[in-house]
Amino acid sequence: MSRPSEGGVRRSKEGSTLAGVFAVVVLASPVVLGIGYSALGALGLAGPGTGGTGPSLDRFSQVLGEPAVWEGTLWTLWVAGASTVLATVGAAGVAVAFRGVGWRNRLGRSLAFLPLPVPHLAAGVGALLILGQSGLLSRIAYYLGWIGGPADMPAVVLDPAGIGLIIALTWKELPFLALVGVSILETRGEALEETARGLGSGPGSTLLRVTWPVLWRGMLPAAVAVFTFVAGSYEAAVLLAPSDPLALPLLTWERYTDASLTRRGDAYVLALLGLMLAVVAVAVHEWVRTGEQGRTGS
């Protein structure tokens, strides 16, 4: 085999760069346009019910001055944070427990990945049918004589604590994070663990000092992606979230379809607020990673 010419390598590199730039533009354009339009809408310059009064910060001050908005935002952060943490810890457990090549490990991994293709809407409906006060668990409890009717079943859907929604989102996001975890251990973990064991480290110590840090660093970007997705997702929330506090995505849609045209512009401010949450999550991730790199010198 002859080596590729220098020109060929350069052309191939240029081709890759061009493809990369194209992909970035395609990915970013709708988001940038959306942010720009939302900003115009929030300033009263575009969208329904603008009234043609020129740019104004009134919508910002009015919407951000509402306690319901901040309660909804905090509630959304609680649900997104809790489900991301539970899914990440669960996924790490799956990755460690079923990382081998034997049939038991393969079966364990396959079962854990099962929810992966299930749409979020279907996960929400499933949670409603299983966890609702008239759902499957409630009916089993009724036939066993534990409860006398739906009202006796603890309310875990449409509940202020968001338990049902957290369970549904954890169930849905865990397989994705487990997939990431398993591939991290396969590609990066084994060699480091072997080295640690060669240097006399016991199984517990290897897990704590080598396996977990490798997993944690590798899974963090995926966990941040899950957090931002969950914080902005509407499908499961509309089925499982309570009416008070109203989750940020639900509040945004409610305002966007308000009977009164004058309220619809509020949705642009709320959309920007949702975007800010995602930006903050990514910034925290960068900060944590930079700190870790600083400590390890990598």
């Binding site: 329904p48 319901a68 609702g132 008070d244 009977a259």
Partner: protein
Amino acid sequence: MGLLNTRSRGKGSALRVGVARIFFALAAASLCAWGCERDPVRETLNAPELALLPWDSVVALARGTELTWRMWRGDPAINAYVDGWVAKTLKERYDVRLLAVEGRGPELVNQFVVEREARAKGGADLVWINGETFHNLMAEELLQGPWAGTLPSAALLDSASAIVMTDFEQDLQGFESPWGRVQFALIYDTIRTPNPPRTVEELGNWIKAHPGRFTHDQSFTGVTFLKVLMYALGGGVDRFEGGFHQEAYDHGSEAVLAWLRAHSGWFWREGREYPSDVAELHRLFANNEVDFSMSNNESEAVTKSRQGVLPSTARPLLLKNGTIANAHYVGIPFNAPNPAGAMVLANLLLSPEAQLEKERPDVWGDGTVLDIGALPPGWKTQFEALGADSRALPKDSLTRYALPEVAPEYHERLSEAWRRTVRRPGG
């Protein structure tokens, strides 16, 4: 874009359309009788201009076209009627292909605003609307008109009915064509609640005697229930008629909120949570979590129990204080690419056979907007035979307890007040 007519231009400006244009359109229409693929005239004449042409010319311009109808697609029975009988008849008789696409009122208003900002060609030829959506579309000048009064089937309308001929007290102005008529009803189960409450007062007593077994949803149907309460507790519908009056609203809304404060502690989840929409309320009712559901369509108890969504023992219930009846309509957006096709469809929807098919309990159960008494005898007999389902409400009861809608501002304000003070106490 200059040819597109909106409310601000009205019929007077439509009349100013040049004779040459009309002549050209007629010539093109007759040419199209021999078949043509794409017709520039069809794409430039808007609905008010088409309304000046003989109906046969409108039909000729529509022939061979495709039509997009944006509508709520949340009910399989309605979808089956539209995708089945309507689409098939439209194709067979007029060679117009119908595409029915999801699009609820508020979303349509937002989309048309954005399309206008982008100067984009419209994606909808006909829209299913009423009430506050019509109010918003007219306020933003996003509908074409007038055209609806010139449809041949419009002569059959129940023109004496204020419920059909005004939409939330708004004059239709020929900008929307009536399509169906419904009336709000509670839904109960004859097994679970053999003696249901018949008045607002009895309902209040029932709620306190059965804690956790009643609620309403947060969306349109729930707000209609609040308006039923407002009429009953605020001195009758007369106080709220004739446009929006702040004083009447203050009095009425305070009466509703006081009633809710006195009773919501006995609601499902003690009134701290509410189902998001009426589909969720139906689910709670069907699964025995609550004993009442509700609907803007008095026939829904029967049609949904036939679909298996509600128990077979579910029945509609009218409160003797009166319940709100309203009509729903179709309109043509300002940038509709095929207004001729839209007018042909609107006319078909108003025809006695389409109205009869729609009203059958095993199809949709949606009330007619036609004056049945004025129809030819054959049609009249068929319409009257429809009330025979023993589970449906008798027509005379519906008429006796029907109350009209009031100005859309009542709906908007009451919805906002409920969200601020009841859904989120202290908000």
